[in-house]
């Protein structure tokens, strides 16, 4: 009796939360897959017809936005690695007893709503705003110069918004490196460059991988930055999905595009993991 209870305990603990995830996360994915294969319209209702047209039409119509999302997501992720790695490195190795203060400062943006932060940038970068206004009145930049409504503004916004998610996992990976390993390398006459390239960099890769996972996915699927900072010419696939779902209520097309996005992200992550060449990288990410 007691043994039976002991073996049931983990299942009882899992049940309510697991059920919540099953009903509101797993099943909806299946429902959306079915929705993406239906045909009809919002007035007459939808029927399931194995209608692959939503995929074909969606991808041909919104080809530009799909490509743009992947390009912006990739560029902003690379920018975040380049900007974030030295910061993580410095805090991990030179932060001393003030490490937690630096980490706290890096996390400060999360105490302000994501939408509000992005609008704050819009405000700061606007054509006659705090940055460009003074520069224009001093004659340092031409009168028609603008930052908003450019692809640079969107990519910059994406890099800004997700940067802490890149820095933290890299920091965690670097922080775990045993200083004795570095000392041993030094004792064996490794140069600073060699130590960095052959010890620090390889040991940081799981952190970089986790960071890419946490930034590439939200950056590629984002539509807030494109809407607020990008004007009309820089829409991403997220904008299209949002419009189709919430405004046009063309559910089959919207679902097909969501699935396409999901597939792209999965393939991207898989290829990246393969390219990195380590299975344990995935394991680390899963932990």
């Amino acid at each position: 009796m007691s043994r039976l209870r002991a073996s049931l305990t983990p299942y009882l603990l899992l049940f309510p939360g697991g059920l919540w995830l099953a009903i509101f996360f797993v099943i909806p994915t299946v429902v959306m897959l079915s929705l993406s294969l239906q045909s009809g319209d919002v007035v007459n209702g939808y029927v399931f017809t194995f209608n692959w047209h939503s995929y074909v039409d969606g991808i041909t119509t919104y080809h530009d936005q799909i490509v743009r999302s992947v390009v912006y997501g990739t560029i902003s992720t690379v920018i975040q690695i380049v900007i974030g790695f030295p910061v993580a490195y410095w805090i991990a190795f030179k932060g001393g007893n003030r490490k937690s203060i630096y980490l706290f400062l890096l996390l400060l943006p999360f105490l302000v709503s994501f939408v509000l932060r992005t609008i704050s940038w819009q405000f700061f970068l606007s054509d006659n705003g705090m940055l460009l206004g003074p520069l224009k009145s001093l004659g340092l930049v031409p009168e028609d110069f603008h930052i908003l409504a450019t692809s640079a503004a969107v990519i910059g916004g994406l890099a800004y918004n997700f940067l802490p998610f890149m820095i933290l996992p890299i920091y965690v990976a670097l922080e775990r490196i045993d200083p004795r390993v570095l000392e041993a390398a030094q004792d064996l006459y490794a140069s600073k460059t060699q130590i960095f390239l052959r010890i620090v960099l390889p040991l940081s890769l799981p952190g970089v991988f986790a960071g890419v996972l946490m930034t590439f996915v939200p950056a590629t699927s984002d539509y807030v930055n494109a809407s607020v900072l990008g004007g009309t010419g820089n829409t991403m696939i997220g904008n299209v999905i949002q419009n189709q779902f919430l405004i046009n209520q063309d559910y089959p097309t919207a679902s097909a595009l969501s699935f396409t996005l999901m597939a792209l992200l999965l393939v991207g992550i898989f290829v990246y993991a393969k390219a990195l060449g380590t299975e344990d990288v995935l394991e680390v990410a899963a932990r």
Binding site: Y11, L105, P109, L111, R117, I119, S258, A286
Partner: protein, 263 residues
């Protein structure tokens, strides 16, 4: 040697520049909550004032949106806190069939694109004609928060020594008493951290909420809706107050942790 020192200093300056970049929009937000703006657009500096702090709750539907956000975040914190902690405890403490599947679902939920999650949940609600509003927002927030709480609690549980619980049982404590007096106090820091994370995720969420809100407004949704007509300074003030409260909670939390570590 001197080169190394210089390089260290350079990296330090660089780190501070990145931090400055990260907090710049927050500074802008706080500053313009004190702007004595006259028209509808709060874009140019027109002098210092405290009047927006006095008129904080004068925009009825903005206040309602903030109340909704706080209420949903609080409920999410409690529900996801309890359900997620139970999952975290199960995964951290027991070995059982199906734990791999649970880990996989949680990993998928954490790494899934928000827009895909929001869109698929909306598909479910549309298919079964569930009316959208406060409750569908709450359902979605608990859904995406559970995994984060579970992961946090699981990490805490895994560092604990289960021999303390065995000792309690050897001394005659029943399962419930053992849980209440031994297990819960030990995992509580994890539960608290996970629940606070759920609160923070909920109050900030925009994408999933945007899909499942119907006409119900939360604070981020209201801001989103108002961008085209210009944000009133009250939004800056509310953002500032939420930010200040977050900083305060984090500092108190840090102080308690430090005191506990010293004791």
């Amino acid at each position: 040697m001197k080169g190394g020192l210089l390089r260290g200093r350079g990296l330090q300056i660089y780190t501070w520049l990145v931090i400055a970049w990260l907090v710049l929009p927050i500074a802008v937000m706080i500053l313009f909550g004190f702007n004595d703006t006259k028209g509808r657009y709060n874009t140019a500096w027109q002098g210092f004032t405290l009047k927006w702090y006095g008129k904080l709750f004068e925009i009825g539907d903005l206040t309602q949106a903030l109340v909704n956000s706080l209420l949903i975040a609080l409920l999410t914190m409690v529900i996801a806190g309890v359900l997620g902690s139970m999952i975290g405890l199960a995964l951290g403490r027991y070995r059982f069939r199906g734990s791999g599947a649970m880990n996989l679902v949680m990993f998928a939920a954490i790494s899934c694109a928000e827009i895909v999650m929001g869109a698929s949940l909306l598909s479910l609600f549309v298919t079964f004609a569930v009316p959208l509003g406060f409750w569908t927002i709450l359902i979605s927030h608990v859904m995406f928060s559970i995994s984060f709480v579970a992961v946090t609690v699981r990490a805490r549980v895994m560092t604990l020594d289960s021999s303390l619980e065995e000792a309690a049982r050897d001394l005659g404590a029943g399962p419930w008493t053992t849980f209440r007096l031994v297990t819960l106090p030990m995992i509580f820091p994890g539960v608290l951290a996970g629940s606070l994370l759920a609160f923070a995720l909920s109050i900030d969420d925009f994408v999933i909420t945007n899909f499942n809100s119907g006409g119900t407004m939360t604070f981020p949704l209201w801001i989103w809706g108002a961008t085209r007509v210009g944000l009133p300074p009250q939004v800056n003030v509310m953002g500032t107050l939420i930010f200040a409260a977050g900083v305060l909670i984090a500092l108190v939390n840090g102080l308690i942790a430090r005191r506990r570590a010293n004791a």
